[in-house]
């Protein structure tokens, strides 16, 4: 089955970020979204460790390890940046001041539940800021491959893994489709050109509603 690359999923998610939006990108894959801001729009990126308005990574060798993001990667400052402490940082998160948070997922359920912090009782658990982000940002979106590496659906009826948050996700950008969560159901908005609804449904763990036009998910090579 044809599918979008991670870069392409990130590109698609970036198209929905308005100029001047305050955005938090989860550690790892979601960080890619910052690379694909449309021309003429400038989002302001927030990182949990007390910085608004950071830019891309510096050149190797010129890192300043007091200027990092939540993934502990070195970043740079853009004009209009601000530093603050962790309680103020999460006041921004919990207080509903972020316009968008874009996170990765192990599972997203049709009721908006998200599981992205723990794959079970084995190993060392680690949660970071995910449980705060899912209840804070005005819009919580997920970017993810549509299925696991083993081909199992990541969009499911109910999450089987430990939850990050209850009823928090409103949009999912996958390698095959763009899907909103409305009233506890998956609503299909966009799917890859040439991908049938039946084939998409077959790799989705809960029913996909079609309540209006379904647009073609067209993404350039990036």
């Amino acid at each position: 089955m044809e599918k979008l690359s991670n870069n392409q999923i990130a590109w698609r998610a970036a198209q929905d970020i308005a100029d001047g939006a305050y955005v938090n990108l989860g550690i790892g894959f979601p960080e890619k979204v910052a690379q694909f801001q449309p021309d003429g729009r400038e989002a302001i990126f927030h990182t949990e460790n007390g910085l608004l308005g950071f830019g891309q990574a510096p050149e190797a060798g010129s890192e300043d390890w007091d200027l990092i993001n939540a993934g502990k990667k070195a970043v740079t400052l853009k004009p209009g940046a601000a530093f603050f402490h962790h309680a103020d940082s999460f006041a921004m998160v919990r207080g509903g001041h972020l316009d968008v948070a874009i996170l990765g997922a192990y599972e997203v359920a049709e009721n908006g539940d998200l599981a992205n912090w723990s794959t079970g009782p084995k190993g060392v658990p680690a949660v970071g800021g995910a449980m705060d982000l899912v209840h804070g940002a005005k819009r919580v979106a997920v970017i993810t491959d549509h299925v696991t590496k083993k081909g199992q659906p990541k969009l499911v009826k109910r999450c089987s893994l430990p939850l990050t948050g209850v009823g928090c996700v409103t949009r999912v950008y996958t390698s095959l489709a763009v899907i909103d969560i409305e009233n506890g159901r998956f609503v299909l908005r966009e799917k890859l050109l040439g991908l049938s609804l039946e084939d998409l449904q077959a790799v989705t763990g809960a029913e996909l509603l079609v309540t209006g036009a379904v647009a073609d998910l067209v993404v350039p090579e990036v």
Binding site: D19, G20, Y22, E42, I44, H46, L51, L52, G53, L77, P79, G80, A81, A82, F83, F84, A87, D88, F90, A91, M92, V93, R94, G95, G96, H97, L98, H135, G136
Partner: protein, 243 residues
């Protein structure tokens, strides 16, 4: 992105009847007098906004600023800690005549309720006011053998704020003790409207010394030489001011 608006009238144009309005300042220090006066101008021209719920530490002094807003009849209810001042005649007369509602809140609880509103904390416990009349009908709980009062967050539709320097992204600094409630109110209002003595480009404020990050600010208007309530009152001014 540029949060600058051209003038005071534009800055306050969206404030509607019945809204909850936080107003920064502690007495006259940090009070956004020009924004308040712009709001009074609008009321005098249009009859709106009225029935406002105002949150401020005090209740105005003399006949300018917050006192003038109350005197104009625009305020239905005041939430404050200390409705006394050198010249509290406006609030006192209207309050004793039953013309305005008062919710009295201990000052630290007021500050924390506003911060909680901005920080997404719907309720918290404080020892302040436990066992007093101001805790009547509030839930209480014991933690580690001591009694505490449960307090709820305070949010607002709009905050009127006075800053010293703003950049176009809304990052703010304040001037000395004029900081007081202003940074908290930026956090707790859906729309923080800021008058700043000067507006600079993004990058014009050192990221280390920003007090209010721009994410908490929606509109900024420049008022280059703001009036001080104390000076106006010493000159026995009343709003509208004589030219």
């Amino acid at each position: 992105m540029d949060k600058t608006v051209s003038d005071l009238a534009t800055a306050v144009a969206g404030i509607e009847d019945g809204m909850t309005v936080m107003i920064g300042g502690f007495g006259g220090s940090g009070s956004p007098i020009e924004l308040i006066h712009a709001l009074i101008d609008r009321y005098r021209e249009t009859g709106h906004p009225k029935d406002l719920v105002v949150i401020n530490n005090n209740a105005g002094n003399g006949h300018v600023g917050l006192a003038a807003l109350i005197e104009a009849g625009m305020v239905r209810k005041l939430i404050c800690s200390f409705p006394r001042s050198a010249d509290p005649v406006v609030f006192t007369e209207i309050y004793l005549a039953g013309g305005i509602e008062l919710e009295l809140v201990p000052q630290g609880t007021l500050a924390e309720r506003i911060r909680a509103g901005g920080a997404g904390i719907p309720a918290f416990y404080t020892p302040s006011s436990y066992g007093t009349d101001l805790a009547k009908d509030k839930p209480v709980a014991e933690f580690d053998g001591r009694m505490y009062v449960q307090e709820r967050w305070l949010k607002a539709d709009v905050a009127l704020v006075k800053a010293e320097t703003a950049d176009t992204f809304g990052n703010l600094t304040y001037r000395m003790a004029a900081r007081n409630f202003n940074p908290l109110m930026c956090m707790a209002a859906a729309e923080a409207i800021v008058q700043a003595s000067r507006i600079v480009d993004a990058g014009g404020i050192d990221p280390e010394v920003v007090v209010t990050p721009g994410i908490f600010v929606q509109k900024v208007v420049e008022v280059a030489n703001p009036l001080q309530e104390e000076d106006l009152n010493r000159a026995n001014a009343a709003y509208p001011l004589e030219a």
